[in-house]
């Protein structure tokens, strides 16, 4: 009886300090697979350290973090302004840090027999999901896909039944890129007026789409398997979903205004026309405190945080979760932020 050994690693952390103790995180389930990889990688390098992460959900994670129930949170959205203020209570006067750790493109995935690729622009996608377009051979779709034989199958929209970061990012994209069609509020919950088939969790929607002819959904790209994936119109071209395209979309994002210098909350530019960028993308953050009570914790947090954003860490995550790695520039900025974490005075 024993644990499955992961790759045997050197007994020292990236920062070169031997760290120990247990680091507790709670948060987004989107990161879970990547987190397993980070945990395994980090623990194999730091035999005395342990990381535990409970994928309760972004909201639950932020809540726990803000009440002192977790040392870091995983969140599909950066802390809102009032949350930043609240964070000062547990984290000291400088509050919390949002650091992007996990980037994943969101696929618009469908089940349409032999058709595995479709070109769609944002208004068309929005119309499909608002049920303005109801069959697959609708001219709006056909016009963008000459040569593709589209059946007259009715379109079954499948969305998430639980509140989720994926939904929030997807509808954020729709409302930015097709504002005339998509007039709903940006929220983690699917608009109540647009109820359709739905399922719990990424695996749930994927499963439902896989078993329903003519169904379409949005889901973390790594999880959609053999389903067809839409190429999304960006500028004048249709961009295929890929890690690079996603990373590129994140790179062109702008920092959120009014945040501390080192905070890395990102405002994604969903309506970007940058060629080769895929703007339907989810950025999941790690939220740390700027100060912790003990040196031990500070060392642990820094060691782990650094590992996560390091090239190694991102590579491990990609190998496990199939997400997109952080670009070198982002990584660098993140490292600076993490380095600023210190013991509360």
């Amino acid at each position: 009886t024993g644990d499955t050994p992961a790759a045997e690693g050197a007994a020292s952390s990236a920062a070169g300090v031997a760290v120990s103790g247990t680091l507790t995180g709670i948060g987004a389930s989107s990161q879970n697979s990547a987190m397993e990889a980070w945990k395994a990688g980090f623990e194999s390098m730091n035999q005395d350290a342990m990381v535990q992460y409970s994928p309760d959900g972004s909201g639950a994670g932020r809540k726990a973090f803000l009440s002192g129930g977790a040392q870091f949170a995983g969140s599909d959205a950066y802390l809102k302004d009032d949350e930043m203020t609240q964070a000062m209570e547990v984290c000291g006067p400088d509050g919390a840090l949002n650091i992007p750790a996990y980037i994943s493109p969101i696929a618009i995935a469908f089940n349409l027999g032999d058709v595995t690729e479709l070109n769609l622009d944002a208004p068309t996608i929005a119309k499909i999901f608002t049920k303005a377009i109801t069959t697959w051979n609708d001219p709006a779709i056909a016009d963008q896909n000459e040569g593709v034989e589209l059946p007259d199958t009715p379109i079954t929209v499948v969305h998430r039944s639980d509140e989720s970061g994926t939904t929030e990012n997807f509808v954020d994209y729709l409302s930015a890129a097709a504002p005339e069609v998509w007039t709903y509020e940006v929220d983690g919950a699917w608009p109540a007026d647009l109820q359709s088939e739905n399922a719990k969790g990424t695996s749930g929607v994927v499963q439902t789409v896989t078993s329903t002819d003519g169904a379409i959904t949005y889901a973390d790209a790594s999880a959609v398997g053999d389903l067809g994936k839409a190429k999304v119109k960006v500028g004048e071209e249709y961009t295929e979903i890929s890690s690079d395209a996603a990373a590129k979309a994140v790179e062109v994002a702008t920092p959120v205004e009014g945040r501390p210098e080192l905070d890395m909350s990102l405002e994604l530019e969903r309506d970007t026309t940058e060629s080769g960028a895929y703007p339907v993308v989810l950025v999941s953050y790690h939220v740390y405190c700027t100060t912790y009570d003990s040196q031990e914790t500070v060392d642990l947090v820094k060691a782990f945080g650094s590992y996560v954003i390091s090239e190694d860490g991102q590579a491990e995550a990609e190998a496990s979760a199939g997400n997109a790695p952080l670009s070198a520039t982002l990584s660098e900025k993140a490292q600076m932020a993490i380095d600023s974490i210190k013991v509360a005075s």
């Binding site: 009886t1 024993g2 644990d3 499955t4 050994p5 992961a6 247990t22 507790t24 709670i26 389930s29 879970n32 697979s33 990547a34 397993e36 990889a37 945990k39 395994a40 990688g41 623990e43 194999s44 342990m50 535990q52 992460y53 409970s54 994928p55 309760d56 639950a60 726990a64 009440s67 002192g68 129930g69 977790a70 719990k200 969790g201 990424t202 695996s203 749930g204 973390d220 790594s222 999880a223 398997g225 491990e316 190998a319 496990s320 979760a321 199939g322």
Partner: protein, 368 residues
């Protein structure tokens, strides 16, 4: 001569108007044919055929009996059919679920699965297993331990409290206001959504021990909130039907009330109490939601219910299904989830057997 004899043998008065035993088979055959005919009209399928045949048979057999043997016999037959039918109907989901679990779970049951945890098992490991066709690594050992410990503690908390409360309600508290209050709250408690029980326990321990107190014990407390009403209510019902003359017999021997309860009343009701307790354990051992918010989620082994996070089989299953270790190749996770489900079912079955055994030891010797 022989013919003469048969002529002379008169019909028994007692069997007059009774259907011959082959009649039932005639009805069966007729129903099968009629069922086939009707179902091919609607669109033939084996399931449809079976359903229509069953309905036709029940109706026909009842009518035939009603005509030949009278209304009372017909009613009796009808109920018999319905009772047998109900059993068969209840078997359908059972067989279906068990089959699903077996089919998907058996391939995942290996020594490795039973005796390792998920520590260090990453998506990359799973990808490798899928691509390289190597065995799936990682197991549910930690979750089995978690399940056993948390359920054990929940049982240790709820069963004594539940039993004693039921005893109080039936034996001591008849007619008292306190009894009414307890009954009232226990009733309400039966409908607590499991997640609310979890949130309550989490809030309670946060209040007592500070934020972020997540341990197996907190989960056990949450489960107790769910278990207790089941234990109380089933025990209460079983105690109520113990004949008063047995209590009187004991009292008349100068036996104290508490001894009468423990030595006479409870043994008489033990089989039902054991059923109720097993039921309550089965109910909570499969809970997911309250564990998630109370015990955290661990991928490695933890022997201590009072500190550190813990997984149970249901949370393990839940996360393996909903957030597969490797999103790109979820099959290993799915396999582990079903294997864990199978394991959990086996555990409850075993528990059931033990409870029945215990009940058997104390059960009334009812040879009469």
């Amino acid at each position: 001569m022989a013919a003469n004899q048969t002529l002379q043998r008169r019909q028994s008065q007692l069997t007059r108007g009774r259907l011959p035993s082959y009649a039932i088979w005639v009805v069966v055959a007729a129903s099968l044919i009629l069922g086939a005919a009707i179902s091919s009209l609607v669109g033939f399928s084996v399931v449809g055929w079976a359903i229509i045949t069953a309905i036709v048979f029940v109706l026909a057999a009842t009518i035939v009996t009603a005509v030949a043997e009278g209304e009372r016999k017909a009613k009796d037959k009808l109920v018999t059919f319905l009772v047998y039918g109900a059993f068969l109907i209840a078997l359908i989901p059972l067989v279906s679920v068990l089959w699903t679990v077996l089919e998907r779970g058996v391939p995942g049951l290996s020594y490795n699965f039973l005796f390792t945890s998920m520590n260090g098992v990453t998506g990359a490991v799973d990808n490798q297993a899928v691509e390289g066709g190597t065995p799936v690594l990682g197991g549910a050992y930690h979750a089995v331990l978690g399940t056993l410990q948390i359920t054990l503690w929940a049982t240790l908390i709820s069963v004594p409290i539940g039993l004693l409360t039921a005893v109080y309600l039936v034996e001591y508290g008849a007619g008292k206001n306190l009894t009414k209050a307890i009954t009232f709250f226990v009733d309400v408690m039966t409908g607590i959504p499991s997640i609310v029980a979890g949130l309550f326990a989490a809030a309670l321990f946060t209040l007592l021990f500070g934020p972020g107190t997540r341990t197996g014990f907190v989960a056990a407390v949450a489960l107790s909130v769910l278990m207790i009403p089941v234990v109380v209510r089933s025990t209460e019902e079983m105690l109520k039907i113990v004949p008063n003359e047995l209590r009187e017999a004991a009292y008349a021997l100068g036996v104290r009330k508490w001894r009468t309860i423990t030595k006479v009343v409870i043994p008489t009701a033990i089989s039902g109490i054991a059923s109720g307790v097993t039921l309550s354990i089965a109910r909570v051992i499969g809970e997911t939601a309250p564990i998630l918010v109370t015990a955290g989620f661990a991928s490695s082994i933890n022997w201590n219910v009072f500190s550190g996070w813990m997984s149970t089989l249901p949370t393990f299953i839940y996360y393996q299904i909903l957030t597969p270790t490797s999103p790109t190749s979820p099959d290993p996770s799915t396999q582990r989830a079903w294997a864990a489900a199978l394991l959990l079912i086996l555990m409850v079955m075993l528990l059931n057997l033990v409870a029945r055994f215990v009940a058997q030891i104390f059960a009334p010797k009812t040879s009469r």
